[in-house]
């Protein structure tokens, strides 16, 4: 089974479980706070996943190790290459 099929399968299972519980199709009398938490659960999971992604990106941006020397060397190499190519007739 492909990864996409696996993900869709899992989503369908969890989605149907959530739908069955929210609409009371199983005949379980859940206490009121549990029902209050259950119906926004998909939205909550999406928002938390988004927050996790945003936080991870921000953290990795903040803790990324800069290499000042390598950056300067790369810039000078870029200038050299541009000069060389313009001399050979390439238009930028």
């Amino acid at each position: 089974m492909t990864k996409l099929a696996q993900w869709l399968w899992a989503l369908a299972l969890l989605g149907s479980a959530w739908a069955a519980l929210t609409m009371g199709a199983l005949g379980l009398e859940l206490p009121s706070p549990c029902r209050e938490i259950l119906w926004p659960l998909p939205a909550y999971l999406l928002v938390s996943a988004g927050c996790y992604a945003l936080g991870t990106v921000g953290y990795r941006v903040a803790t990324f190790h800069d290499c000042e020397d390598a950056a300067r060397e790369l810039q000078s190499q870029i200038q050299e290459a541009r000069a060389d190519l313009t001399r050979r007739g390439l238009r930028f």
């Binding site: 009121s32 706070p33 209050e36 938490i37 119906w39 926004p40 659960l41 939205a43 909550y44 999406l46 928002v47 938390s48 927050c51 996790y52 945003l54 936080g55 990106v57 921000g58 953290y59 990795r60 941006v61 903040a62 803790t63 990324f64 190790h65 800069d66």
Partner: protein, 84 residues
Amino acid sequence: MATGTDQVVGLGLVAVSLIIFTYYTAWVILLPFIDSEHVIHKFFLPRAYAVAIPLAAGLLLLLCVGLFITYIMLKKQRVTKKAQ
């Protein structure tokens, strides 16, 4: 370690994501267990907005992505037409 603006932006993103996460968790998970007479409920909108606002934001994001793609495709078409 990253320097200057990188650190500020990165830590800003982390802070924003933590704030959103704690507020949203309190709204969806904690509030149903607190007495409806408690003063904390004043800080949170009615529960229906807990789904409506992320849904609207998601649709807005899709709209922006779609507009951006349309803009890029139109620009590309105009460039190829001028080159012909």
